[in-house]
Amino acid sequence: MREKIIYGMALLAAILLARNLHSTFLVLPDEANQGMIYRIMFFHIPAAWTALLGCAVALVASVMFLITKNFRYDALAVAVTEVGLAFLAVNIVTGSIWGRIIWGIWWTWDARLTSAFACWLLYFGYLMLRGAIDEPTRRATLAAVFSIFAFADVPIVIFSIKWWRTQHPQPVFWGGGSMDSAMWLTTMLNWVALMLVGAVFLLVRLRQEEAQREIDSMRRMVHAI
């Protein structure tokens, strides 16, 4: 059953991505000021949203683990953090490519780039932390604590870096920017597509975690015998 859900979602994601790529490259016109390159935004923006959602799910899963001590939540937390980190990397890399064309430079220490990078490092620390602890209960508990700290820090990091310097084009959300409704539709649909891709990754990763735990418990049983 689970197998079928994964394949079904993957299929749906593929169809939606094909539709969006068609619309992105063949239907929608070049943007008035930015020309061709603005199309990267259809991946750049949804990737950021997906990553942010991943952080939020990781927070909920971590809190739930600390309350219930159920390892399903730990598996969810690590899986969703890994997937979120991948999407944040997509966001940073696509942003960098966009910056090379529009600003003429790959990287600048402007507020949003810096905070995206800082958040990436923060959650990369989460994975490093997990890698350094062998005992499963201890690893899950400490990782959950770290995830809560990281999530509390993300908004403060973003605001502090924003105060530090600002050079980014006004964001579409909570800013002065605006977007044509056809472009808006493709952005939203691409968000759905990326979320589906993320969910497929997540389910596959969850199954790996469960298998890993099963192998660990079998190994312990063999040692006990």
């Binding site: 923060l122 350094a132 604590v145 990281a150 403060i156």
Partner: protein, 226 residues
């Protein structure tokens, strides 16, 4: 009341142990001096430029040298299984945490207080024009650093690669605190008062301290027992 007395007992114990061995404070101070020396090779600024750079320079020194102190906070309890005894002791985990944080805070503060005149002499800078506001910034930012550092010292204490993991986890979390400290320190070392423009950083520091102190006090039990 009892809670506070327990914290102070832990803090006094830690400070006494540190005064007798002097291992953390010595390592941290000599490391700070080495970095201050190395900075003199990396650039050769005029006095005005130096004042503008002072916040960033000093806080990088404090963050690097401070990690050595924070690493020892819980690591010094590993020999003879002292950590197990402390966790088993009839005090709240939060009291243990607060005591350890207080001791680390004092050590960090002493290290920073020594660094300021050394920095002033090495780089020909009068830094005392705004002495008391500067001390306030130092206290607030050091407390933020201490809270995060002590939590993660407890978190990484039983880990292989402990010395590497602590800074790796702490520095990204500390970005807001560090940015505020750098901006405010540069402003005050340059002799300018705390005007409304930089007060926003002061508020950020206070907010950061409140959020993470409460978060640490709530979660430290899970960290110690985890």
């Amino acid at each position: 009341m009892n809670f506070l007395r327990q914290s102070l007992t832990i803090a006094a114990k830690d400070l006494r142990a540190e005064l007798r061995t002097k291992e953390a404070i010595q390592a941290s101070l000599s490391f700070a001096l080495v970095i201050l020396l190395l900075f003199s090779f990396s650039f050769d600024p005029s006095e005005d430029e130096m004042r503008a750079l002072s916040g960033g320079l000093l806080w990088i020194v404090f963050a690097f040298a401070g990690a050595l102190i924070l690493n020892r906070t819980f690591a010094r309890e590993i020999p003879n299984d002292c950590l197990d005894a402390l966790v088993a002791a009839p005090i709240a985990g939060a009291a243990l945490f607060l005591g350890k944080a207080l001791a680390s805070f004092i050590l960090l503060f002493v290290m920073e207080l020594v660094c300021f005149p050394v920095f002033g002499i090495f780089y020909n800078i009068g830094w005392t024009a705004q002495f008391w506001p500067l001390m306030l910034v130092l206290v607030l930012a050091t407390w933020g650093f201490t809270v995060i550092g002590t939590t993660f010292s407890a978190l990484t204490v039983n880990m292989r690669l402990r010395e590497i993991m602590l800074p790796l986890l702490v520095y990204p979390l500390m970005i807001p605190c560090l940015l505020a400290a750098i901006r405010l320190t540069s402003q005050l070392v340059a002799g300018q008062p705390l005007d409304p423009e930089v007060m926003v950083w002061m508020r950020l520091l206070v907010g950061f301290n409140i959020i993470f102190t409460s978060l640490a006090l709530v979660l430290v039990e899970s960290v110690l027992l985890g």
